[in-house]
Amino acid sequence: MLKYITKRIVTLIPILVVVSLLTFLLVHFMPGDPARIIGGETATQQDIDAINKAYGFDKPIYKQYYNYISNIFKGDLGTSIKTGRPVINDIKIRFPNTLKLSLSAMVIAVVFGTLIGIVSATKKYSFIDNIFMLFALIGVSTPSFYLGLMLMLLFSVKLGWVPMLGDKGLISLVLPAIALSVRSLATMARMTRSSMIEVMSQDYILSANAQGFSETKVVFGHALKNAMITIVTIAGLQFGYLLGGAVVTEKVFAYPGLGQLTVDAIRARDFPTVQAGILVIATTFVLVNLLVDVLYAFINPQIKYD
């Protein structure tokens, strides 16, 4: 197992090199001149030339990439074109924030999504199943932007339970985590339900029932364990979506996360920040998928990697 994990971590390096190259090319070939964006509306050609020289935009593209990638290996993610500050400083603040928010949303989505999916599967086609699946449909269809604003309106403005500004402690995390989790929760619920229904139609479940096991033991001891592979896979993919998709939620709740930083950087053509943001998200996503693969081996002992 350790060998497998080591091998997977080593393959991270070529993956990230490819990601960095693709991102670099995409960002540099996007229409829009960063020098003009930095200079503003009233920038003269003289100003534009000075900016291009100062930031190295006048160098050939391969040289710019080479400088960029060699700095990455030295741990230097570059200087933000927009703020003049080292990019790493912003990443150090924003990435943990996004991670906190995404993990919180993930916990809500997995716990409640799985529970709802189990209840729906065991009460297939019942009234409660229909209600839950209706909520799942609404959850998947509701834009997180709208949901976030409505949550804020209810809990902060009308009820005054949750402050909107100030201390960014646990309380500040609740509403954005709920807003962000809903779509994933709905997806988890539906996928858990499908997976559980499929598993519970298997012969070994019939056999377990025939042997007189309690419903809890059958559902949690047998059915859920076998459905977990699918559930964990979906959860891993959902986490990737949450990491990158928190932008809208971050904007609505003024939550200083990596998504908002990256989107603002794209608008400003702030290459170093865009590249750093995407690299960090890509790395996290690859590591999460590695974790998912490792979990498979624990869920199903028949899966071996060595």
Partner: protein, 522 residues
């Protein structure tokens, strides 16, 4: 039975989540109470302001956007500034004289002024500031604004002479710009590249802390030379979403909200706890026309487009009345703006006649480029213009681009025909934008307009230091642009901000700046 237990567990779980999200009920805003994280007592006057974007830097020589400039202007000052009657008055400069040849400006500086780091403001600081601005090693993106400066000479501790390369009519106006704020030489020497996060100006407020991505906290500067700030602490929080800023104001989490969208105004006007503040601004929003592409090189077509657009309808229905009907290109609150030009009245019949005369009796097909989210209701306004132009036979397709791509399209001019844009006035004087927007080949001339008469006039204005003669020539220049219908000017932006009704002393200015120095809570 077991599934019932699961359902109960689920409901309990939801209640737990909701329960733990309950903080203390927010205090009803009243005297001295503050819903932010700041601790408040009767004596400490703390305020919360919410803005849409974060300042990019606190080094004035690297500021290129209005939002950053607003923060800059809380902690820095200039040698001179505009008063409410559009006159230039001394700020850090006590007085000044101009040499007979118009080349040398000698400033007598205020005495007993300190920077936030305790070092004294003097002629040395002025020389250092402007030389750093011009120095190619600084790589300021606005260095060309100081291009006119030839030499700076220290004549005494509080006397400095600035010589320009040629007589420069808008020299003093340029000096009012936020890029010309005076900085502490010692602070720059101490912090080097990190000066942008360790600023030291002379303003009544200074930087206390900067929580990147979240907020800036400013506090009172006890050694300010002028009237000390009544504000003890102000926290500028970054809240990108318009609706969120408005909600924070309504809930009392914020005292002031900068940039309230027109669509939210009606709701706020009905709220007795909210005070709306509006001010006609420097910014003109217009439909540009690309002279490189037919038929926009035909004056009659441009005039027709001006007559086809119902500007008042756009102001009333899209902007909720929150804008000023246009006259010429320069907003009426800019010094030397030509305010008595004949506006192009809404007259679709006249528009059709002009198009027919120009050889387009059935109109023509074209495109309208528009940004989205750059200006208030920009895309919606472009759609209204599209509909109004269709009434006179001009069938246009809307093209929406993100700002970076949009700038490239408008400056390149290969693909644009009609395009929505805004223009401000960094110096508060028309010369800069008239020169940049309309002289042949200039940086902001996205219309690709070229008029040698106009170019010669602008050259004359540049070197005219007699303000009366200058004013006449500026009027003439604006008249040429207006009569040539280079733009279809849509409106002058109204700045809209809102405060809790118990907050006083918040002032906003036409140049999109505001002052947080003298806030009071009733």
């Amino acid at each position: 039975m077991k599934t019932r237990k699961i359902t109960i567990a689920l409901i309990l779980g939801i209640m737990l989540i909701v329960g733990t999200s309950c903080g203390p009920k927010s205090i009803e805003p009243s005297d001295g109470n503050d819903n932010s994280g700041n601790s408040v007592s009767e004596e400490v006057k703390a305020f919360d302001i919410v803005m849409g974007t974060e300042p990019t830097t606190l080094d004035p020589q690297f500021v290129t956007d209005v939002n950053t400039a607003r923060s800059i202007m809380q902690i820095y000052e200039n040698l001179v500034s505009w008063d409410d009657d559009y006159n230039i008055v001394g700020d850090l400069a006590e007085s000044w004289t101009t040499s007979e040849d118009g080349l040398t400006w000698t400033f007598t500086l205020k005495q007993d002024v300190k920077f936030h780091d305790g070092t004294p403001f003097n002629a040395e600081a002025v020389k250092f500031t402007y030389e750093r601005f011009i120095d190619p090693a600084t790589a300021s993106p606005r260095a060309s604004q100081a291009d006119m400066i030839d030499n700076i000479e220290i004549l005494g501790e509080h006397e400095v002479a600035i010589t320009t390369k040629a007589p420069t009519g808008d020299f003093l106006a340029s000096m009012t710009s936020y890029n010309f704020c005076i900085i502490s030489p010692e602070a720059v020497k101490k912090h080097g590249k990190d000066y942008n996060i360790n600023p030291a100006g002379t303003g009544a407020l200074k930087l206390k802390e900067w929580n990147f991505g979240e907020s800036l906290v400013l506090e009172k500067f006890e050694d300010y030379w002028g009237e000390k700030a009544t504000t003890d602490i102000v926290k500028i929080s970054i809240v990108p979403e318009d609706a969120s800023r408005v909600m924070m104001l309504q809930s009392g989490d914020a005292d002031i909200a900068a940039g309230v969208p027109p669509i939210q105004m009606e709701k706020l006007q009905e709220d007795p706890n909210i005070n709306i503040i509006t001010e006609t601004g420097y910014r003109t929003i217009f439909m540009g026309m690309n002279f490189k592409h037919e038929p926009f090189d035909d004056l009659r077509v441009r005039q027709a487009i001006n007559h086809a657009i119902d500007k008042q309808s756009i102001i009333d229905n899209i902007l909720g009345g929150m804008a000023t009907a246009p006259v010429g290109v320069e907003s009426i609150v800019i010094s030397n703006a030509a305010t008595d030009l004949e506006p192009y009245e809404y007259n679709p019949e006249k528009a059709k006649k002009l198009l027919a005369e120009a050889g387009y009796p059935d109109g023509f097909k074209t495109t309208i480029h528009t940004p989205e989210g750059r200006y208030a209701m920009d895309r919606q306004i472009s759609e209204v213009v599209q509909a109004q132009l269709l009434e006179v036979g001009i069938d246009s397709e809307i093209i929406i681009l993100d700002w970076g791509a949009y700038q490239e399209a408008t400056t390149g001019g290969e693909t644009t025909n009609l395009f929505l844009l805004g223009k401000g006035s960094p110096t508060g004087d028309p010369y800069m934008t008239q020169q940049l927007s309309f002289t042949t080949g200039a940086g902001m001339n996205n219309s690709f307009y070229s008029n040698p008469t106009f170019d010669r006039l602008v050259d004359k204005i540049r070197v005219e230091v007699d303000q009366d003669k200058r004013a006449d020539m500026l009027y003439e220049a604006q008249k040429i642009i207006h009569e040539d219908a280079v733009y279809a000017v849509l409106y002058y932006e109204t700045q809209t901000m809102a405060t809790r009704s118990n907050v006083k002393g918040f002032e906003i200015y036409p140049n999109e700046m505001f002052k947080l120095w003298y806030l009071e809570r009733e």
